[in-house]
C-alpha cells in the first residue's frame, strides 16, 4: 500500500524499488523547497523585467534585439531535453538493470542542454557586439539578469548531469545515486517551466 502512494514530486519509484522509494521522501521534499524559493527569485526577476520594459533610455528595445527564430530553436531544444530526461526517468524506474540506456538518455539530455547554452551565448554575444550591454539601459540590465540567470541554471544542470553519469558508471545505481538523479529531474523540468515564462514574456511579447 505504502509503496504505491505518491511521496514526492517527480516520477515516484513506487513498487519498482520500494526501499529507495521509502528513503526518497525527505531529500526530494528538501529539493522541492529549494525549487520553490528559486521560483520566487525568478518571479521577481520577471517583475523587474516587466517594469523596466520601457526604460530603454533611447537605446535598442526588445524589437530591435531579439530574433524569433533563435528563440524558437532554443525552446524546441529545451522542450525536447525535458522529454529525453523523462525517458531517462522511465529507465531509472523500470530498467535499472540496464544502466547503459539510462546513461544514453542522460547523455542526450546533456548534449541538448549544451546546444541550448551555445545558442544563448551566441545570442548574447551578438547583442554585446551591437553595444546592447547591461550598462546601456534599465531594460537591458533587467534582461541581462533574467535570461542569463536561467542560462546559468541550465549550465549547472549540465554539470550535474556530467557528475551523475560519472556516478552511475563508478558507484552504480544505488539508492543515493537514484534519488540524486530524481532531484536532477525535478531541477531540469523546473528550468523548462521557467523557460516557458521567458519565451512568452521576453521574446514573444517583445516581438509582438
Amino acid at each position: 500500500m505504502n509503496a504505491t502512494k505518491y511521496k514526492h514530486a517527480g516520477l515516484n519509484l513506487g513498487t519498482s524499488d520500494p526501499g529507495t522509494h521509502e528513503q526518497a521522501e525527505s531529500p526530494l521534499f528538501g529539493f522541492w523547497v529549494f525549487l520553490m524559493s528559486d521560483a520566487v527569485i525568478f518571479s521577481l526577476l520577471f517583475a523587474i523585467y516587466l517594469s523596466m520594459l520601457d526604460a530603454t533610455a533611447g537605446g535598442p528595445s526588445a524589437r530591435d534585439l531579439f530574433e524569433l527564430k533563435s528563440a524558437f530553436i532554443q525552446t524546441l531544444i529545451l522542450l525536447t531535453s525535458s522529454f529525453t530526461f523523462a525517458m531517462a526517468s522511465l529507465n531509472l524506474k523500470y530498467r535499472a538493470d540496464e544502466p547503459r540506456r539510462l546513461i544514453s538518455w542522460l547523455a542526450i539530455t546533456l548534449l541538448l542542454g549544451l546546444i541550448f547554452i551555445g545558442f544563448e551565448v551566441h545570442d548574447l554575444l551578438g547583442m554585446a557586439a551591437r553595444d546592447a550591454l547591461p550598462q546601456r539601459s534599465g531594460f537591458l540590465s533587467a534582461f541581462f539578469v533574467l535570461v542569463p540567470t536561467h542560462g546559468i541554471h541550465v549550465a549547472f544542470g549540465c554539470l550535474w548531469l556530467i557528475v551523475m553519469i560519472i556516478q552511475i558508471a563508478t558507484l552504480g545505481l544505488r539508492s543515493e545515486v537514484k534519488t540524486r538523479i530524481m532531484r536532477l529531474g525535478l531541477f531540469w523540468h523546473f528550468l523548462d517551466i521557467i523557460w516557458i515564462g521567458i519565451f512568452s514574456v521576453v521574446y514573444l511579447w517583445g516581438l509582438l
Partner: protein, 107 residues
C-alpha cells in the same frame, strides 16, 4: 512472479504514453504562440492574451506530467506550492503595481 513483470510492463507503457502525450501537447502549445507572432495572425492585444493562455496551460501540463504534481501529491508539496504562490503574488504583483504606478506618474 510473471504477473508482477506484466504489471510493471503495463505501468511502464502507461508512464511512457503519458510522457509522449505531454510532449505533444507542449509542442502544440509552443508552436501556436510562435506562429501567432511570426505571421502576425491576430491583432496585438488578442495575440498577447493567447500567448499568456498558451503559456499558462503549458506550465500546468509540465507540472502535471513532468513534475507529477496533482491532487494525489504529498500534502506538504502542495502546501509549499500554495505558500510560494502567495509569496510570488505578493512580491511580484506588488512590485508590478508599485513600479507601473510610479512609471505612469512620472510621465
Amino acid at each position: 512472479m510473471a504477473r508482477m513483470i506484466d504489471q510493471a510492463d503495463a505501468e511502464y507503457v502507461r508512464d511512457l504514453r503519458a510522457y509522449i502525450l505531454a510532449f505533444v501537447i507542449a509542442l502544440v502549445l509552443t508552436v501556436i504562440p510562435f506562429a501567432l507572432v511570426a505571421w502576425k495572425l491576430l491583432s496585438a492585444s488578442l495575440a498577447l492574451v493567447l500567448i499568456c493562455v498558451c503559456g499558462l496551460i503549458q506550465i500546468v501540463v509540465h507540472l502535471r506530467f513532468f513534475l507529477h504534481i496533482g491532487f494525489q501529491s504529498h500534502r506538504d508539496d502542495l502546501y509549499l506550492m500554495l505558500f510560494s504562490g502567495v509569496i510570488i503574488l505578493l512580491l511580484a504583483g506588488g512590485t508590478l503595481i508599485v513600479m507601473l504606478d510610479l512609471g505612469s506618474r512620472m510621465m
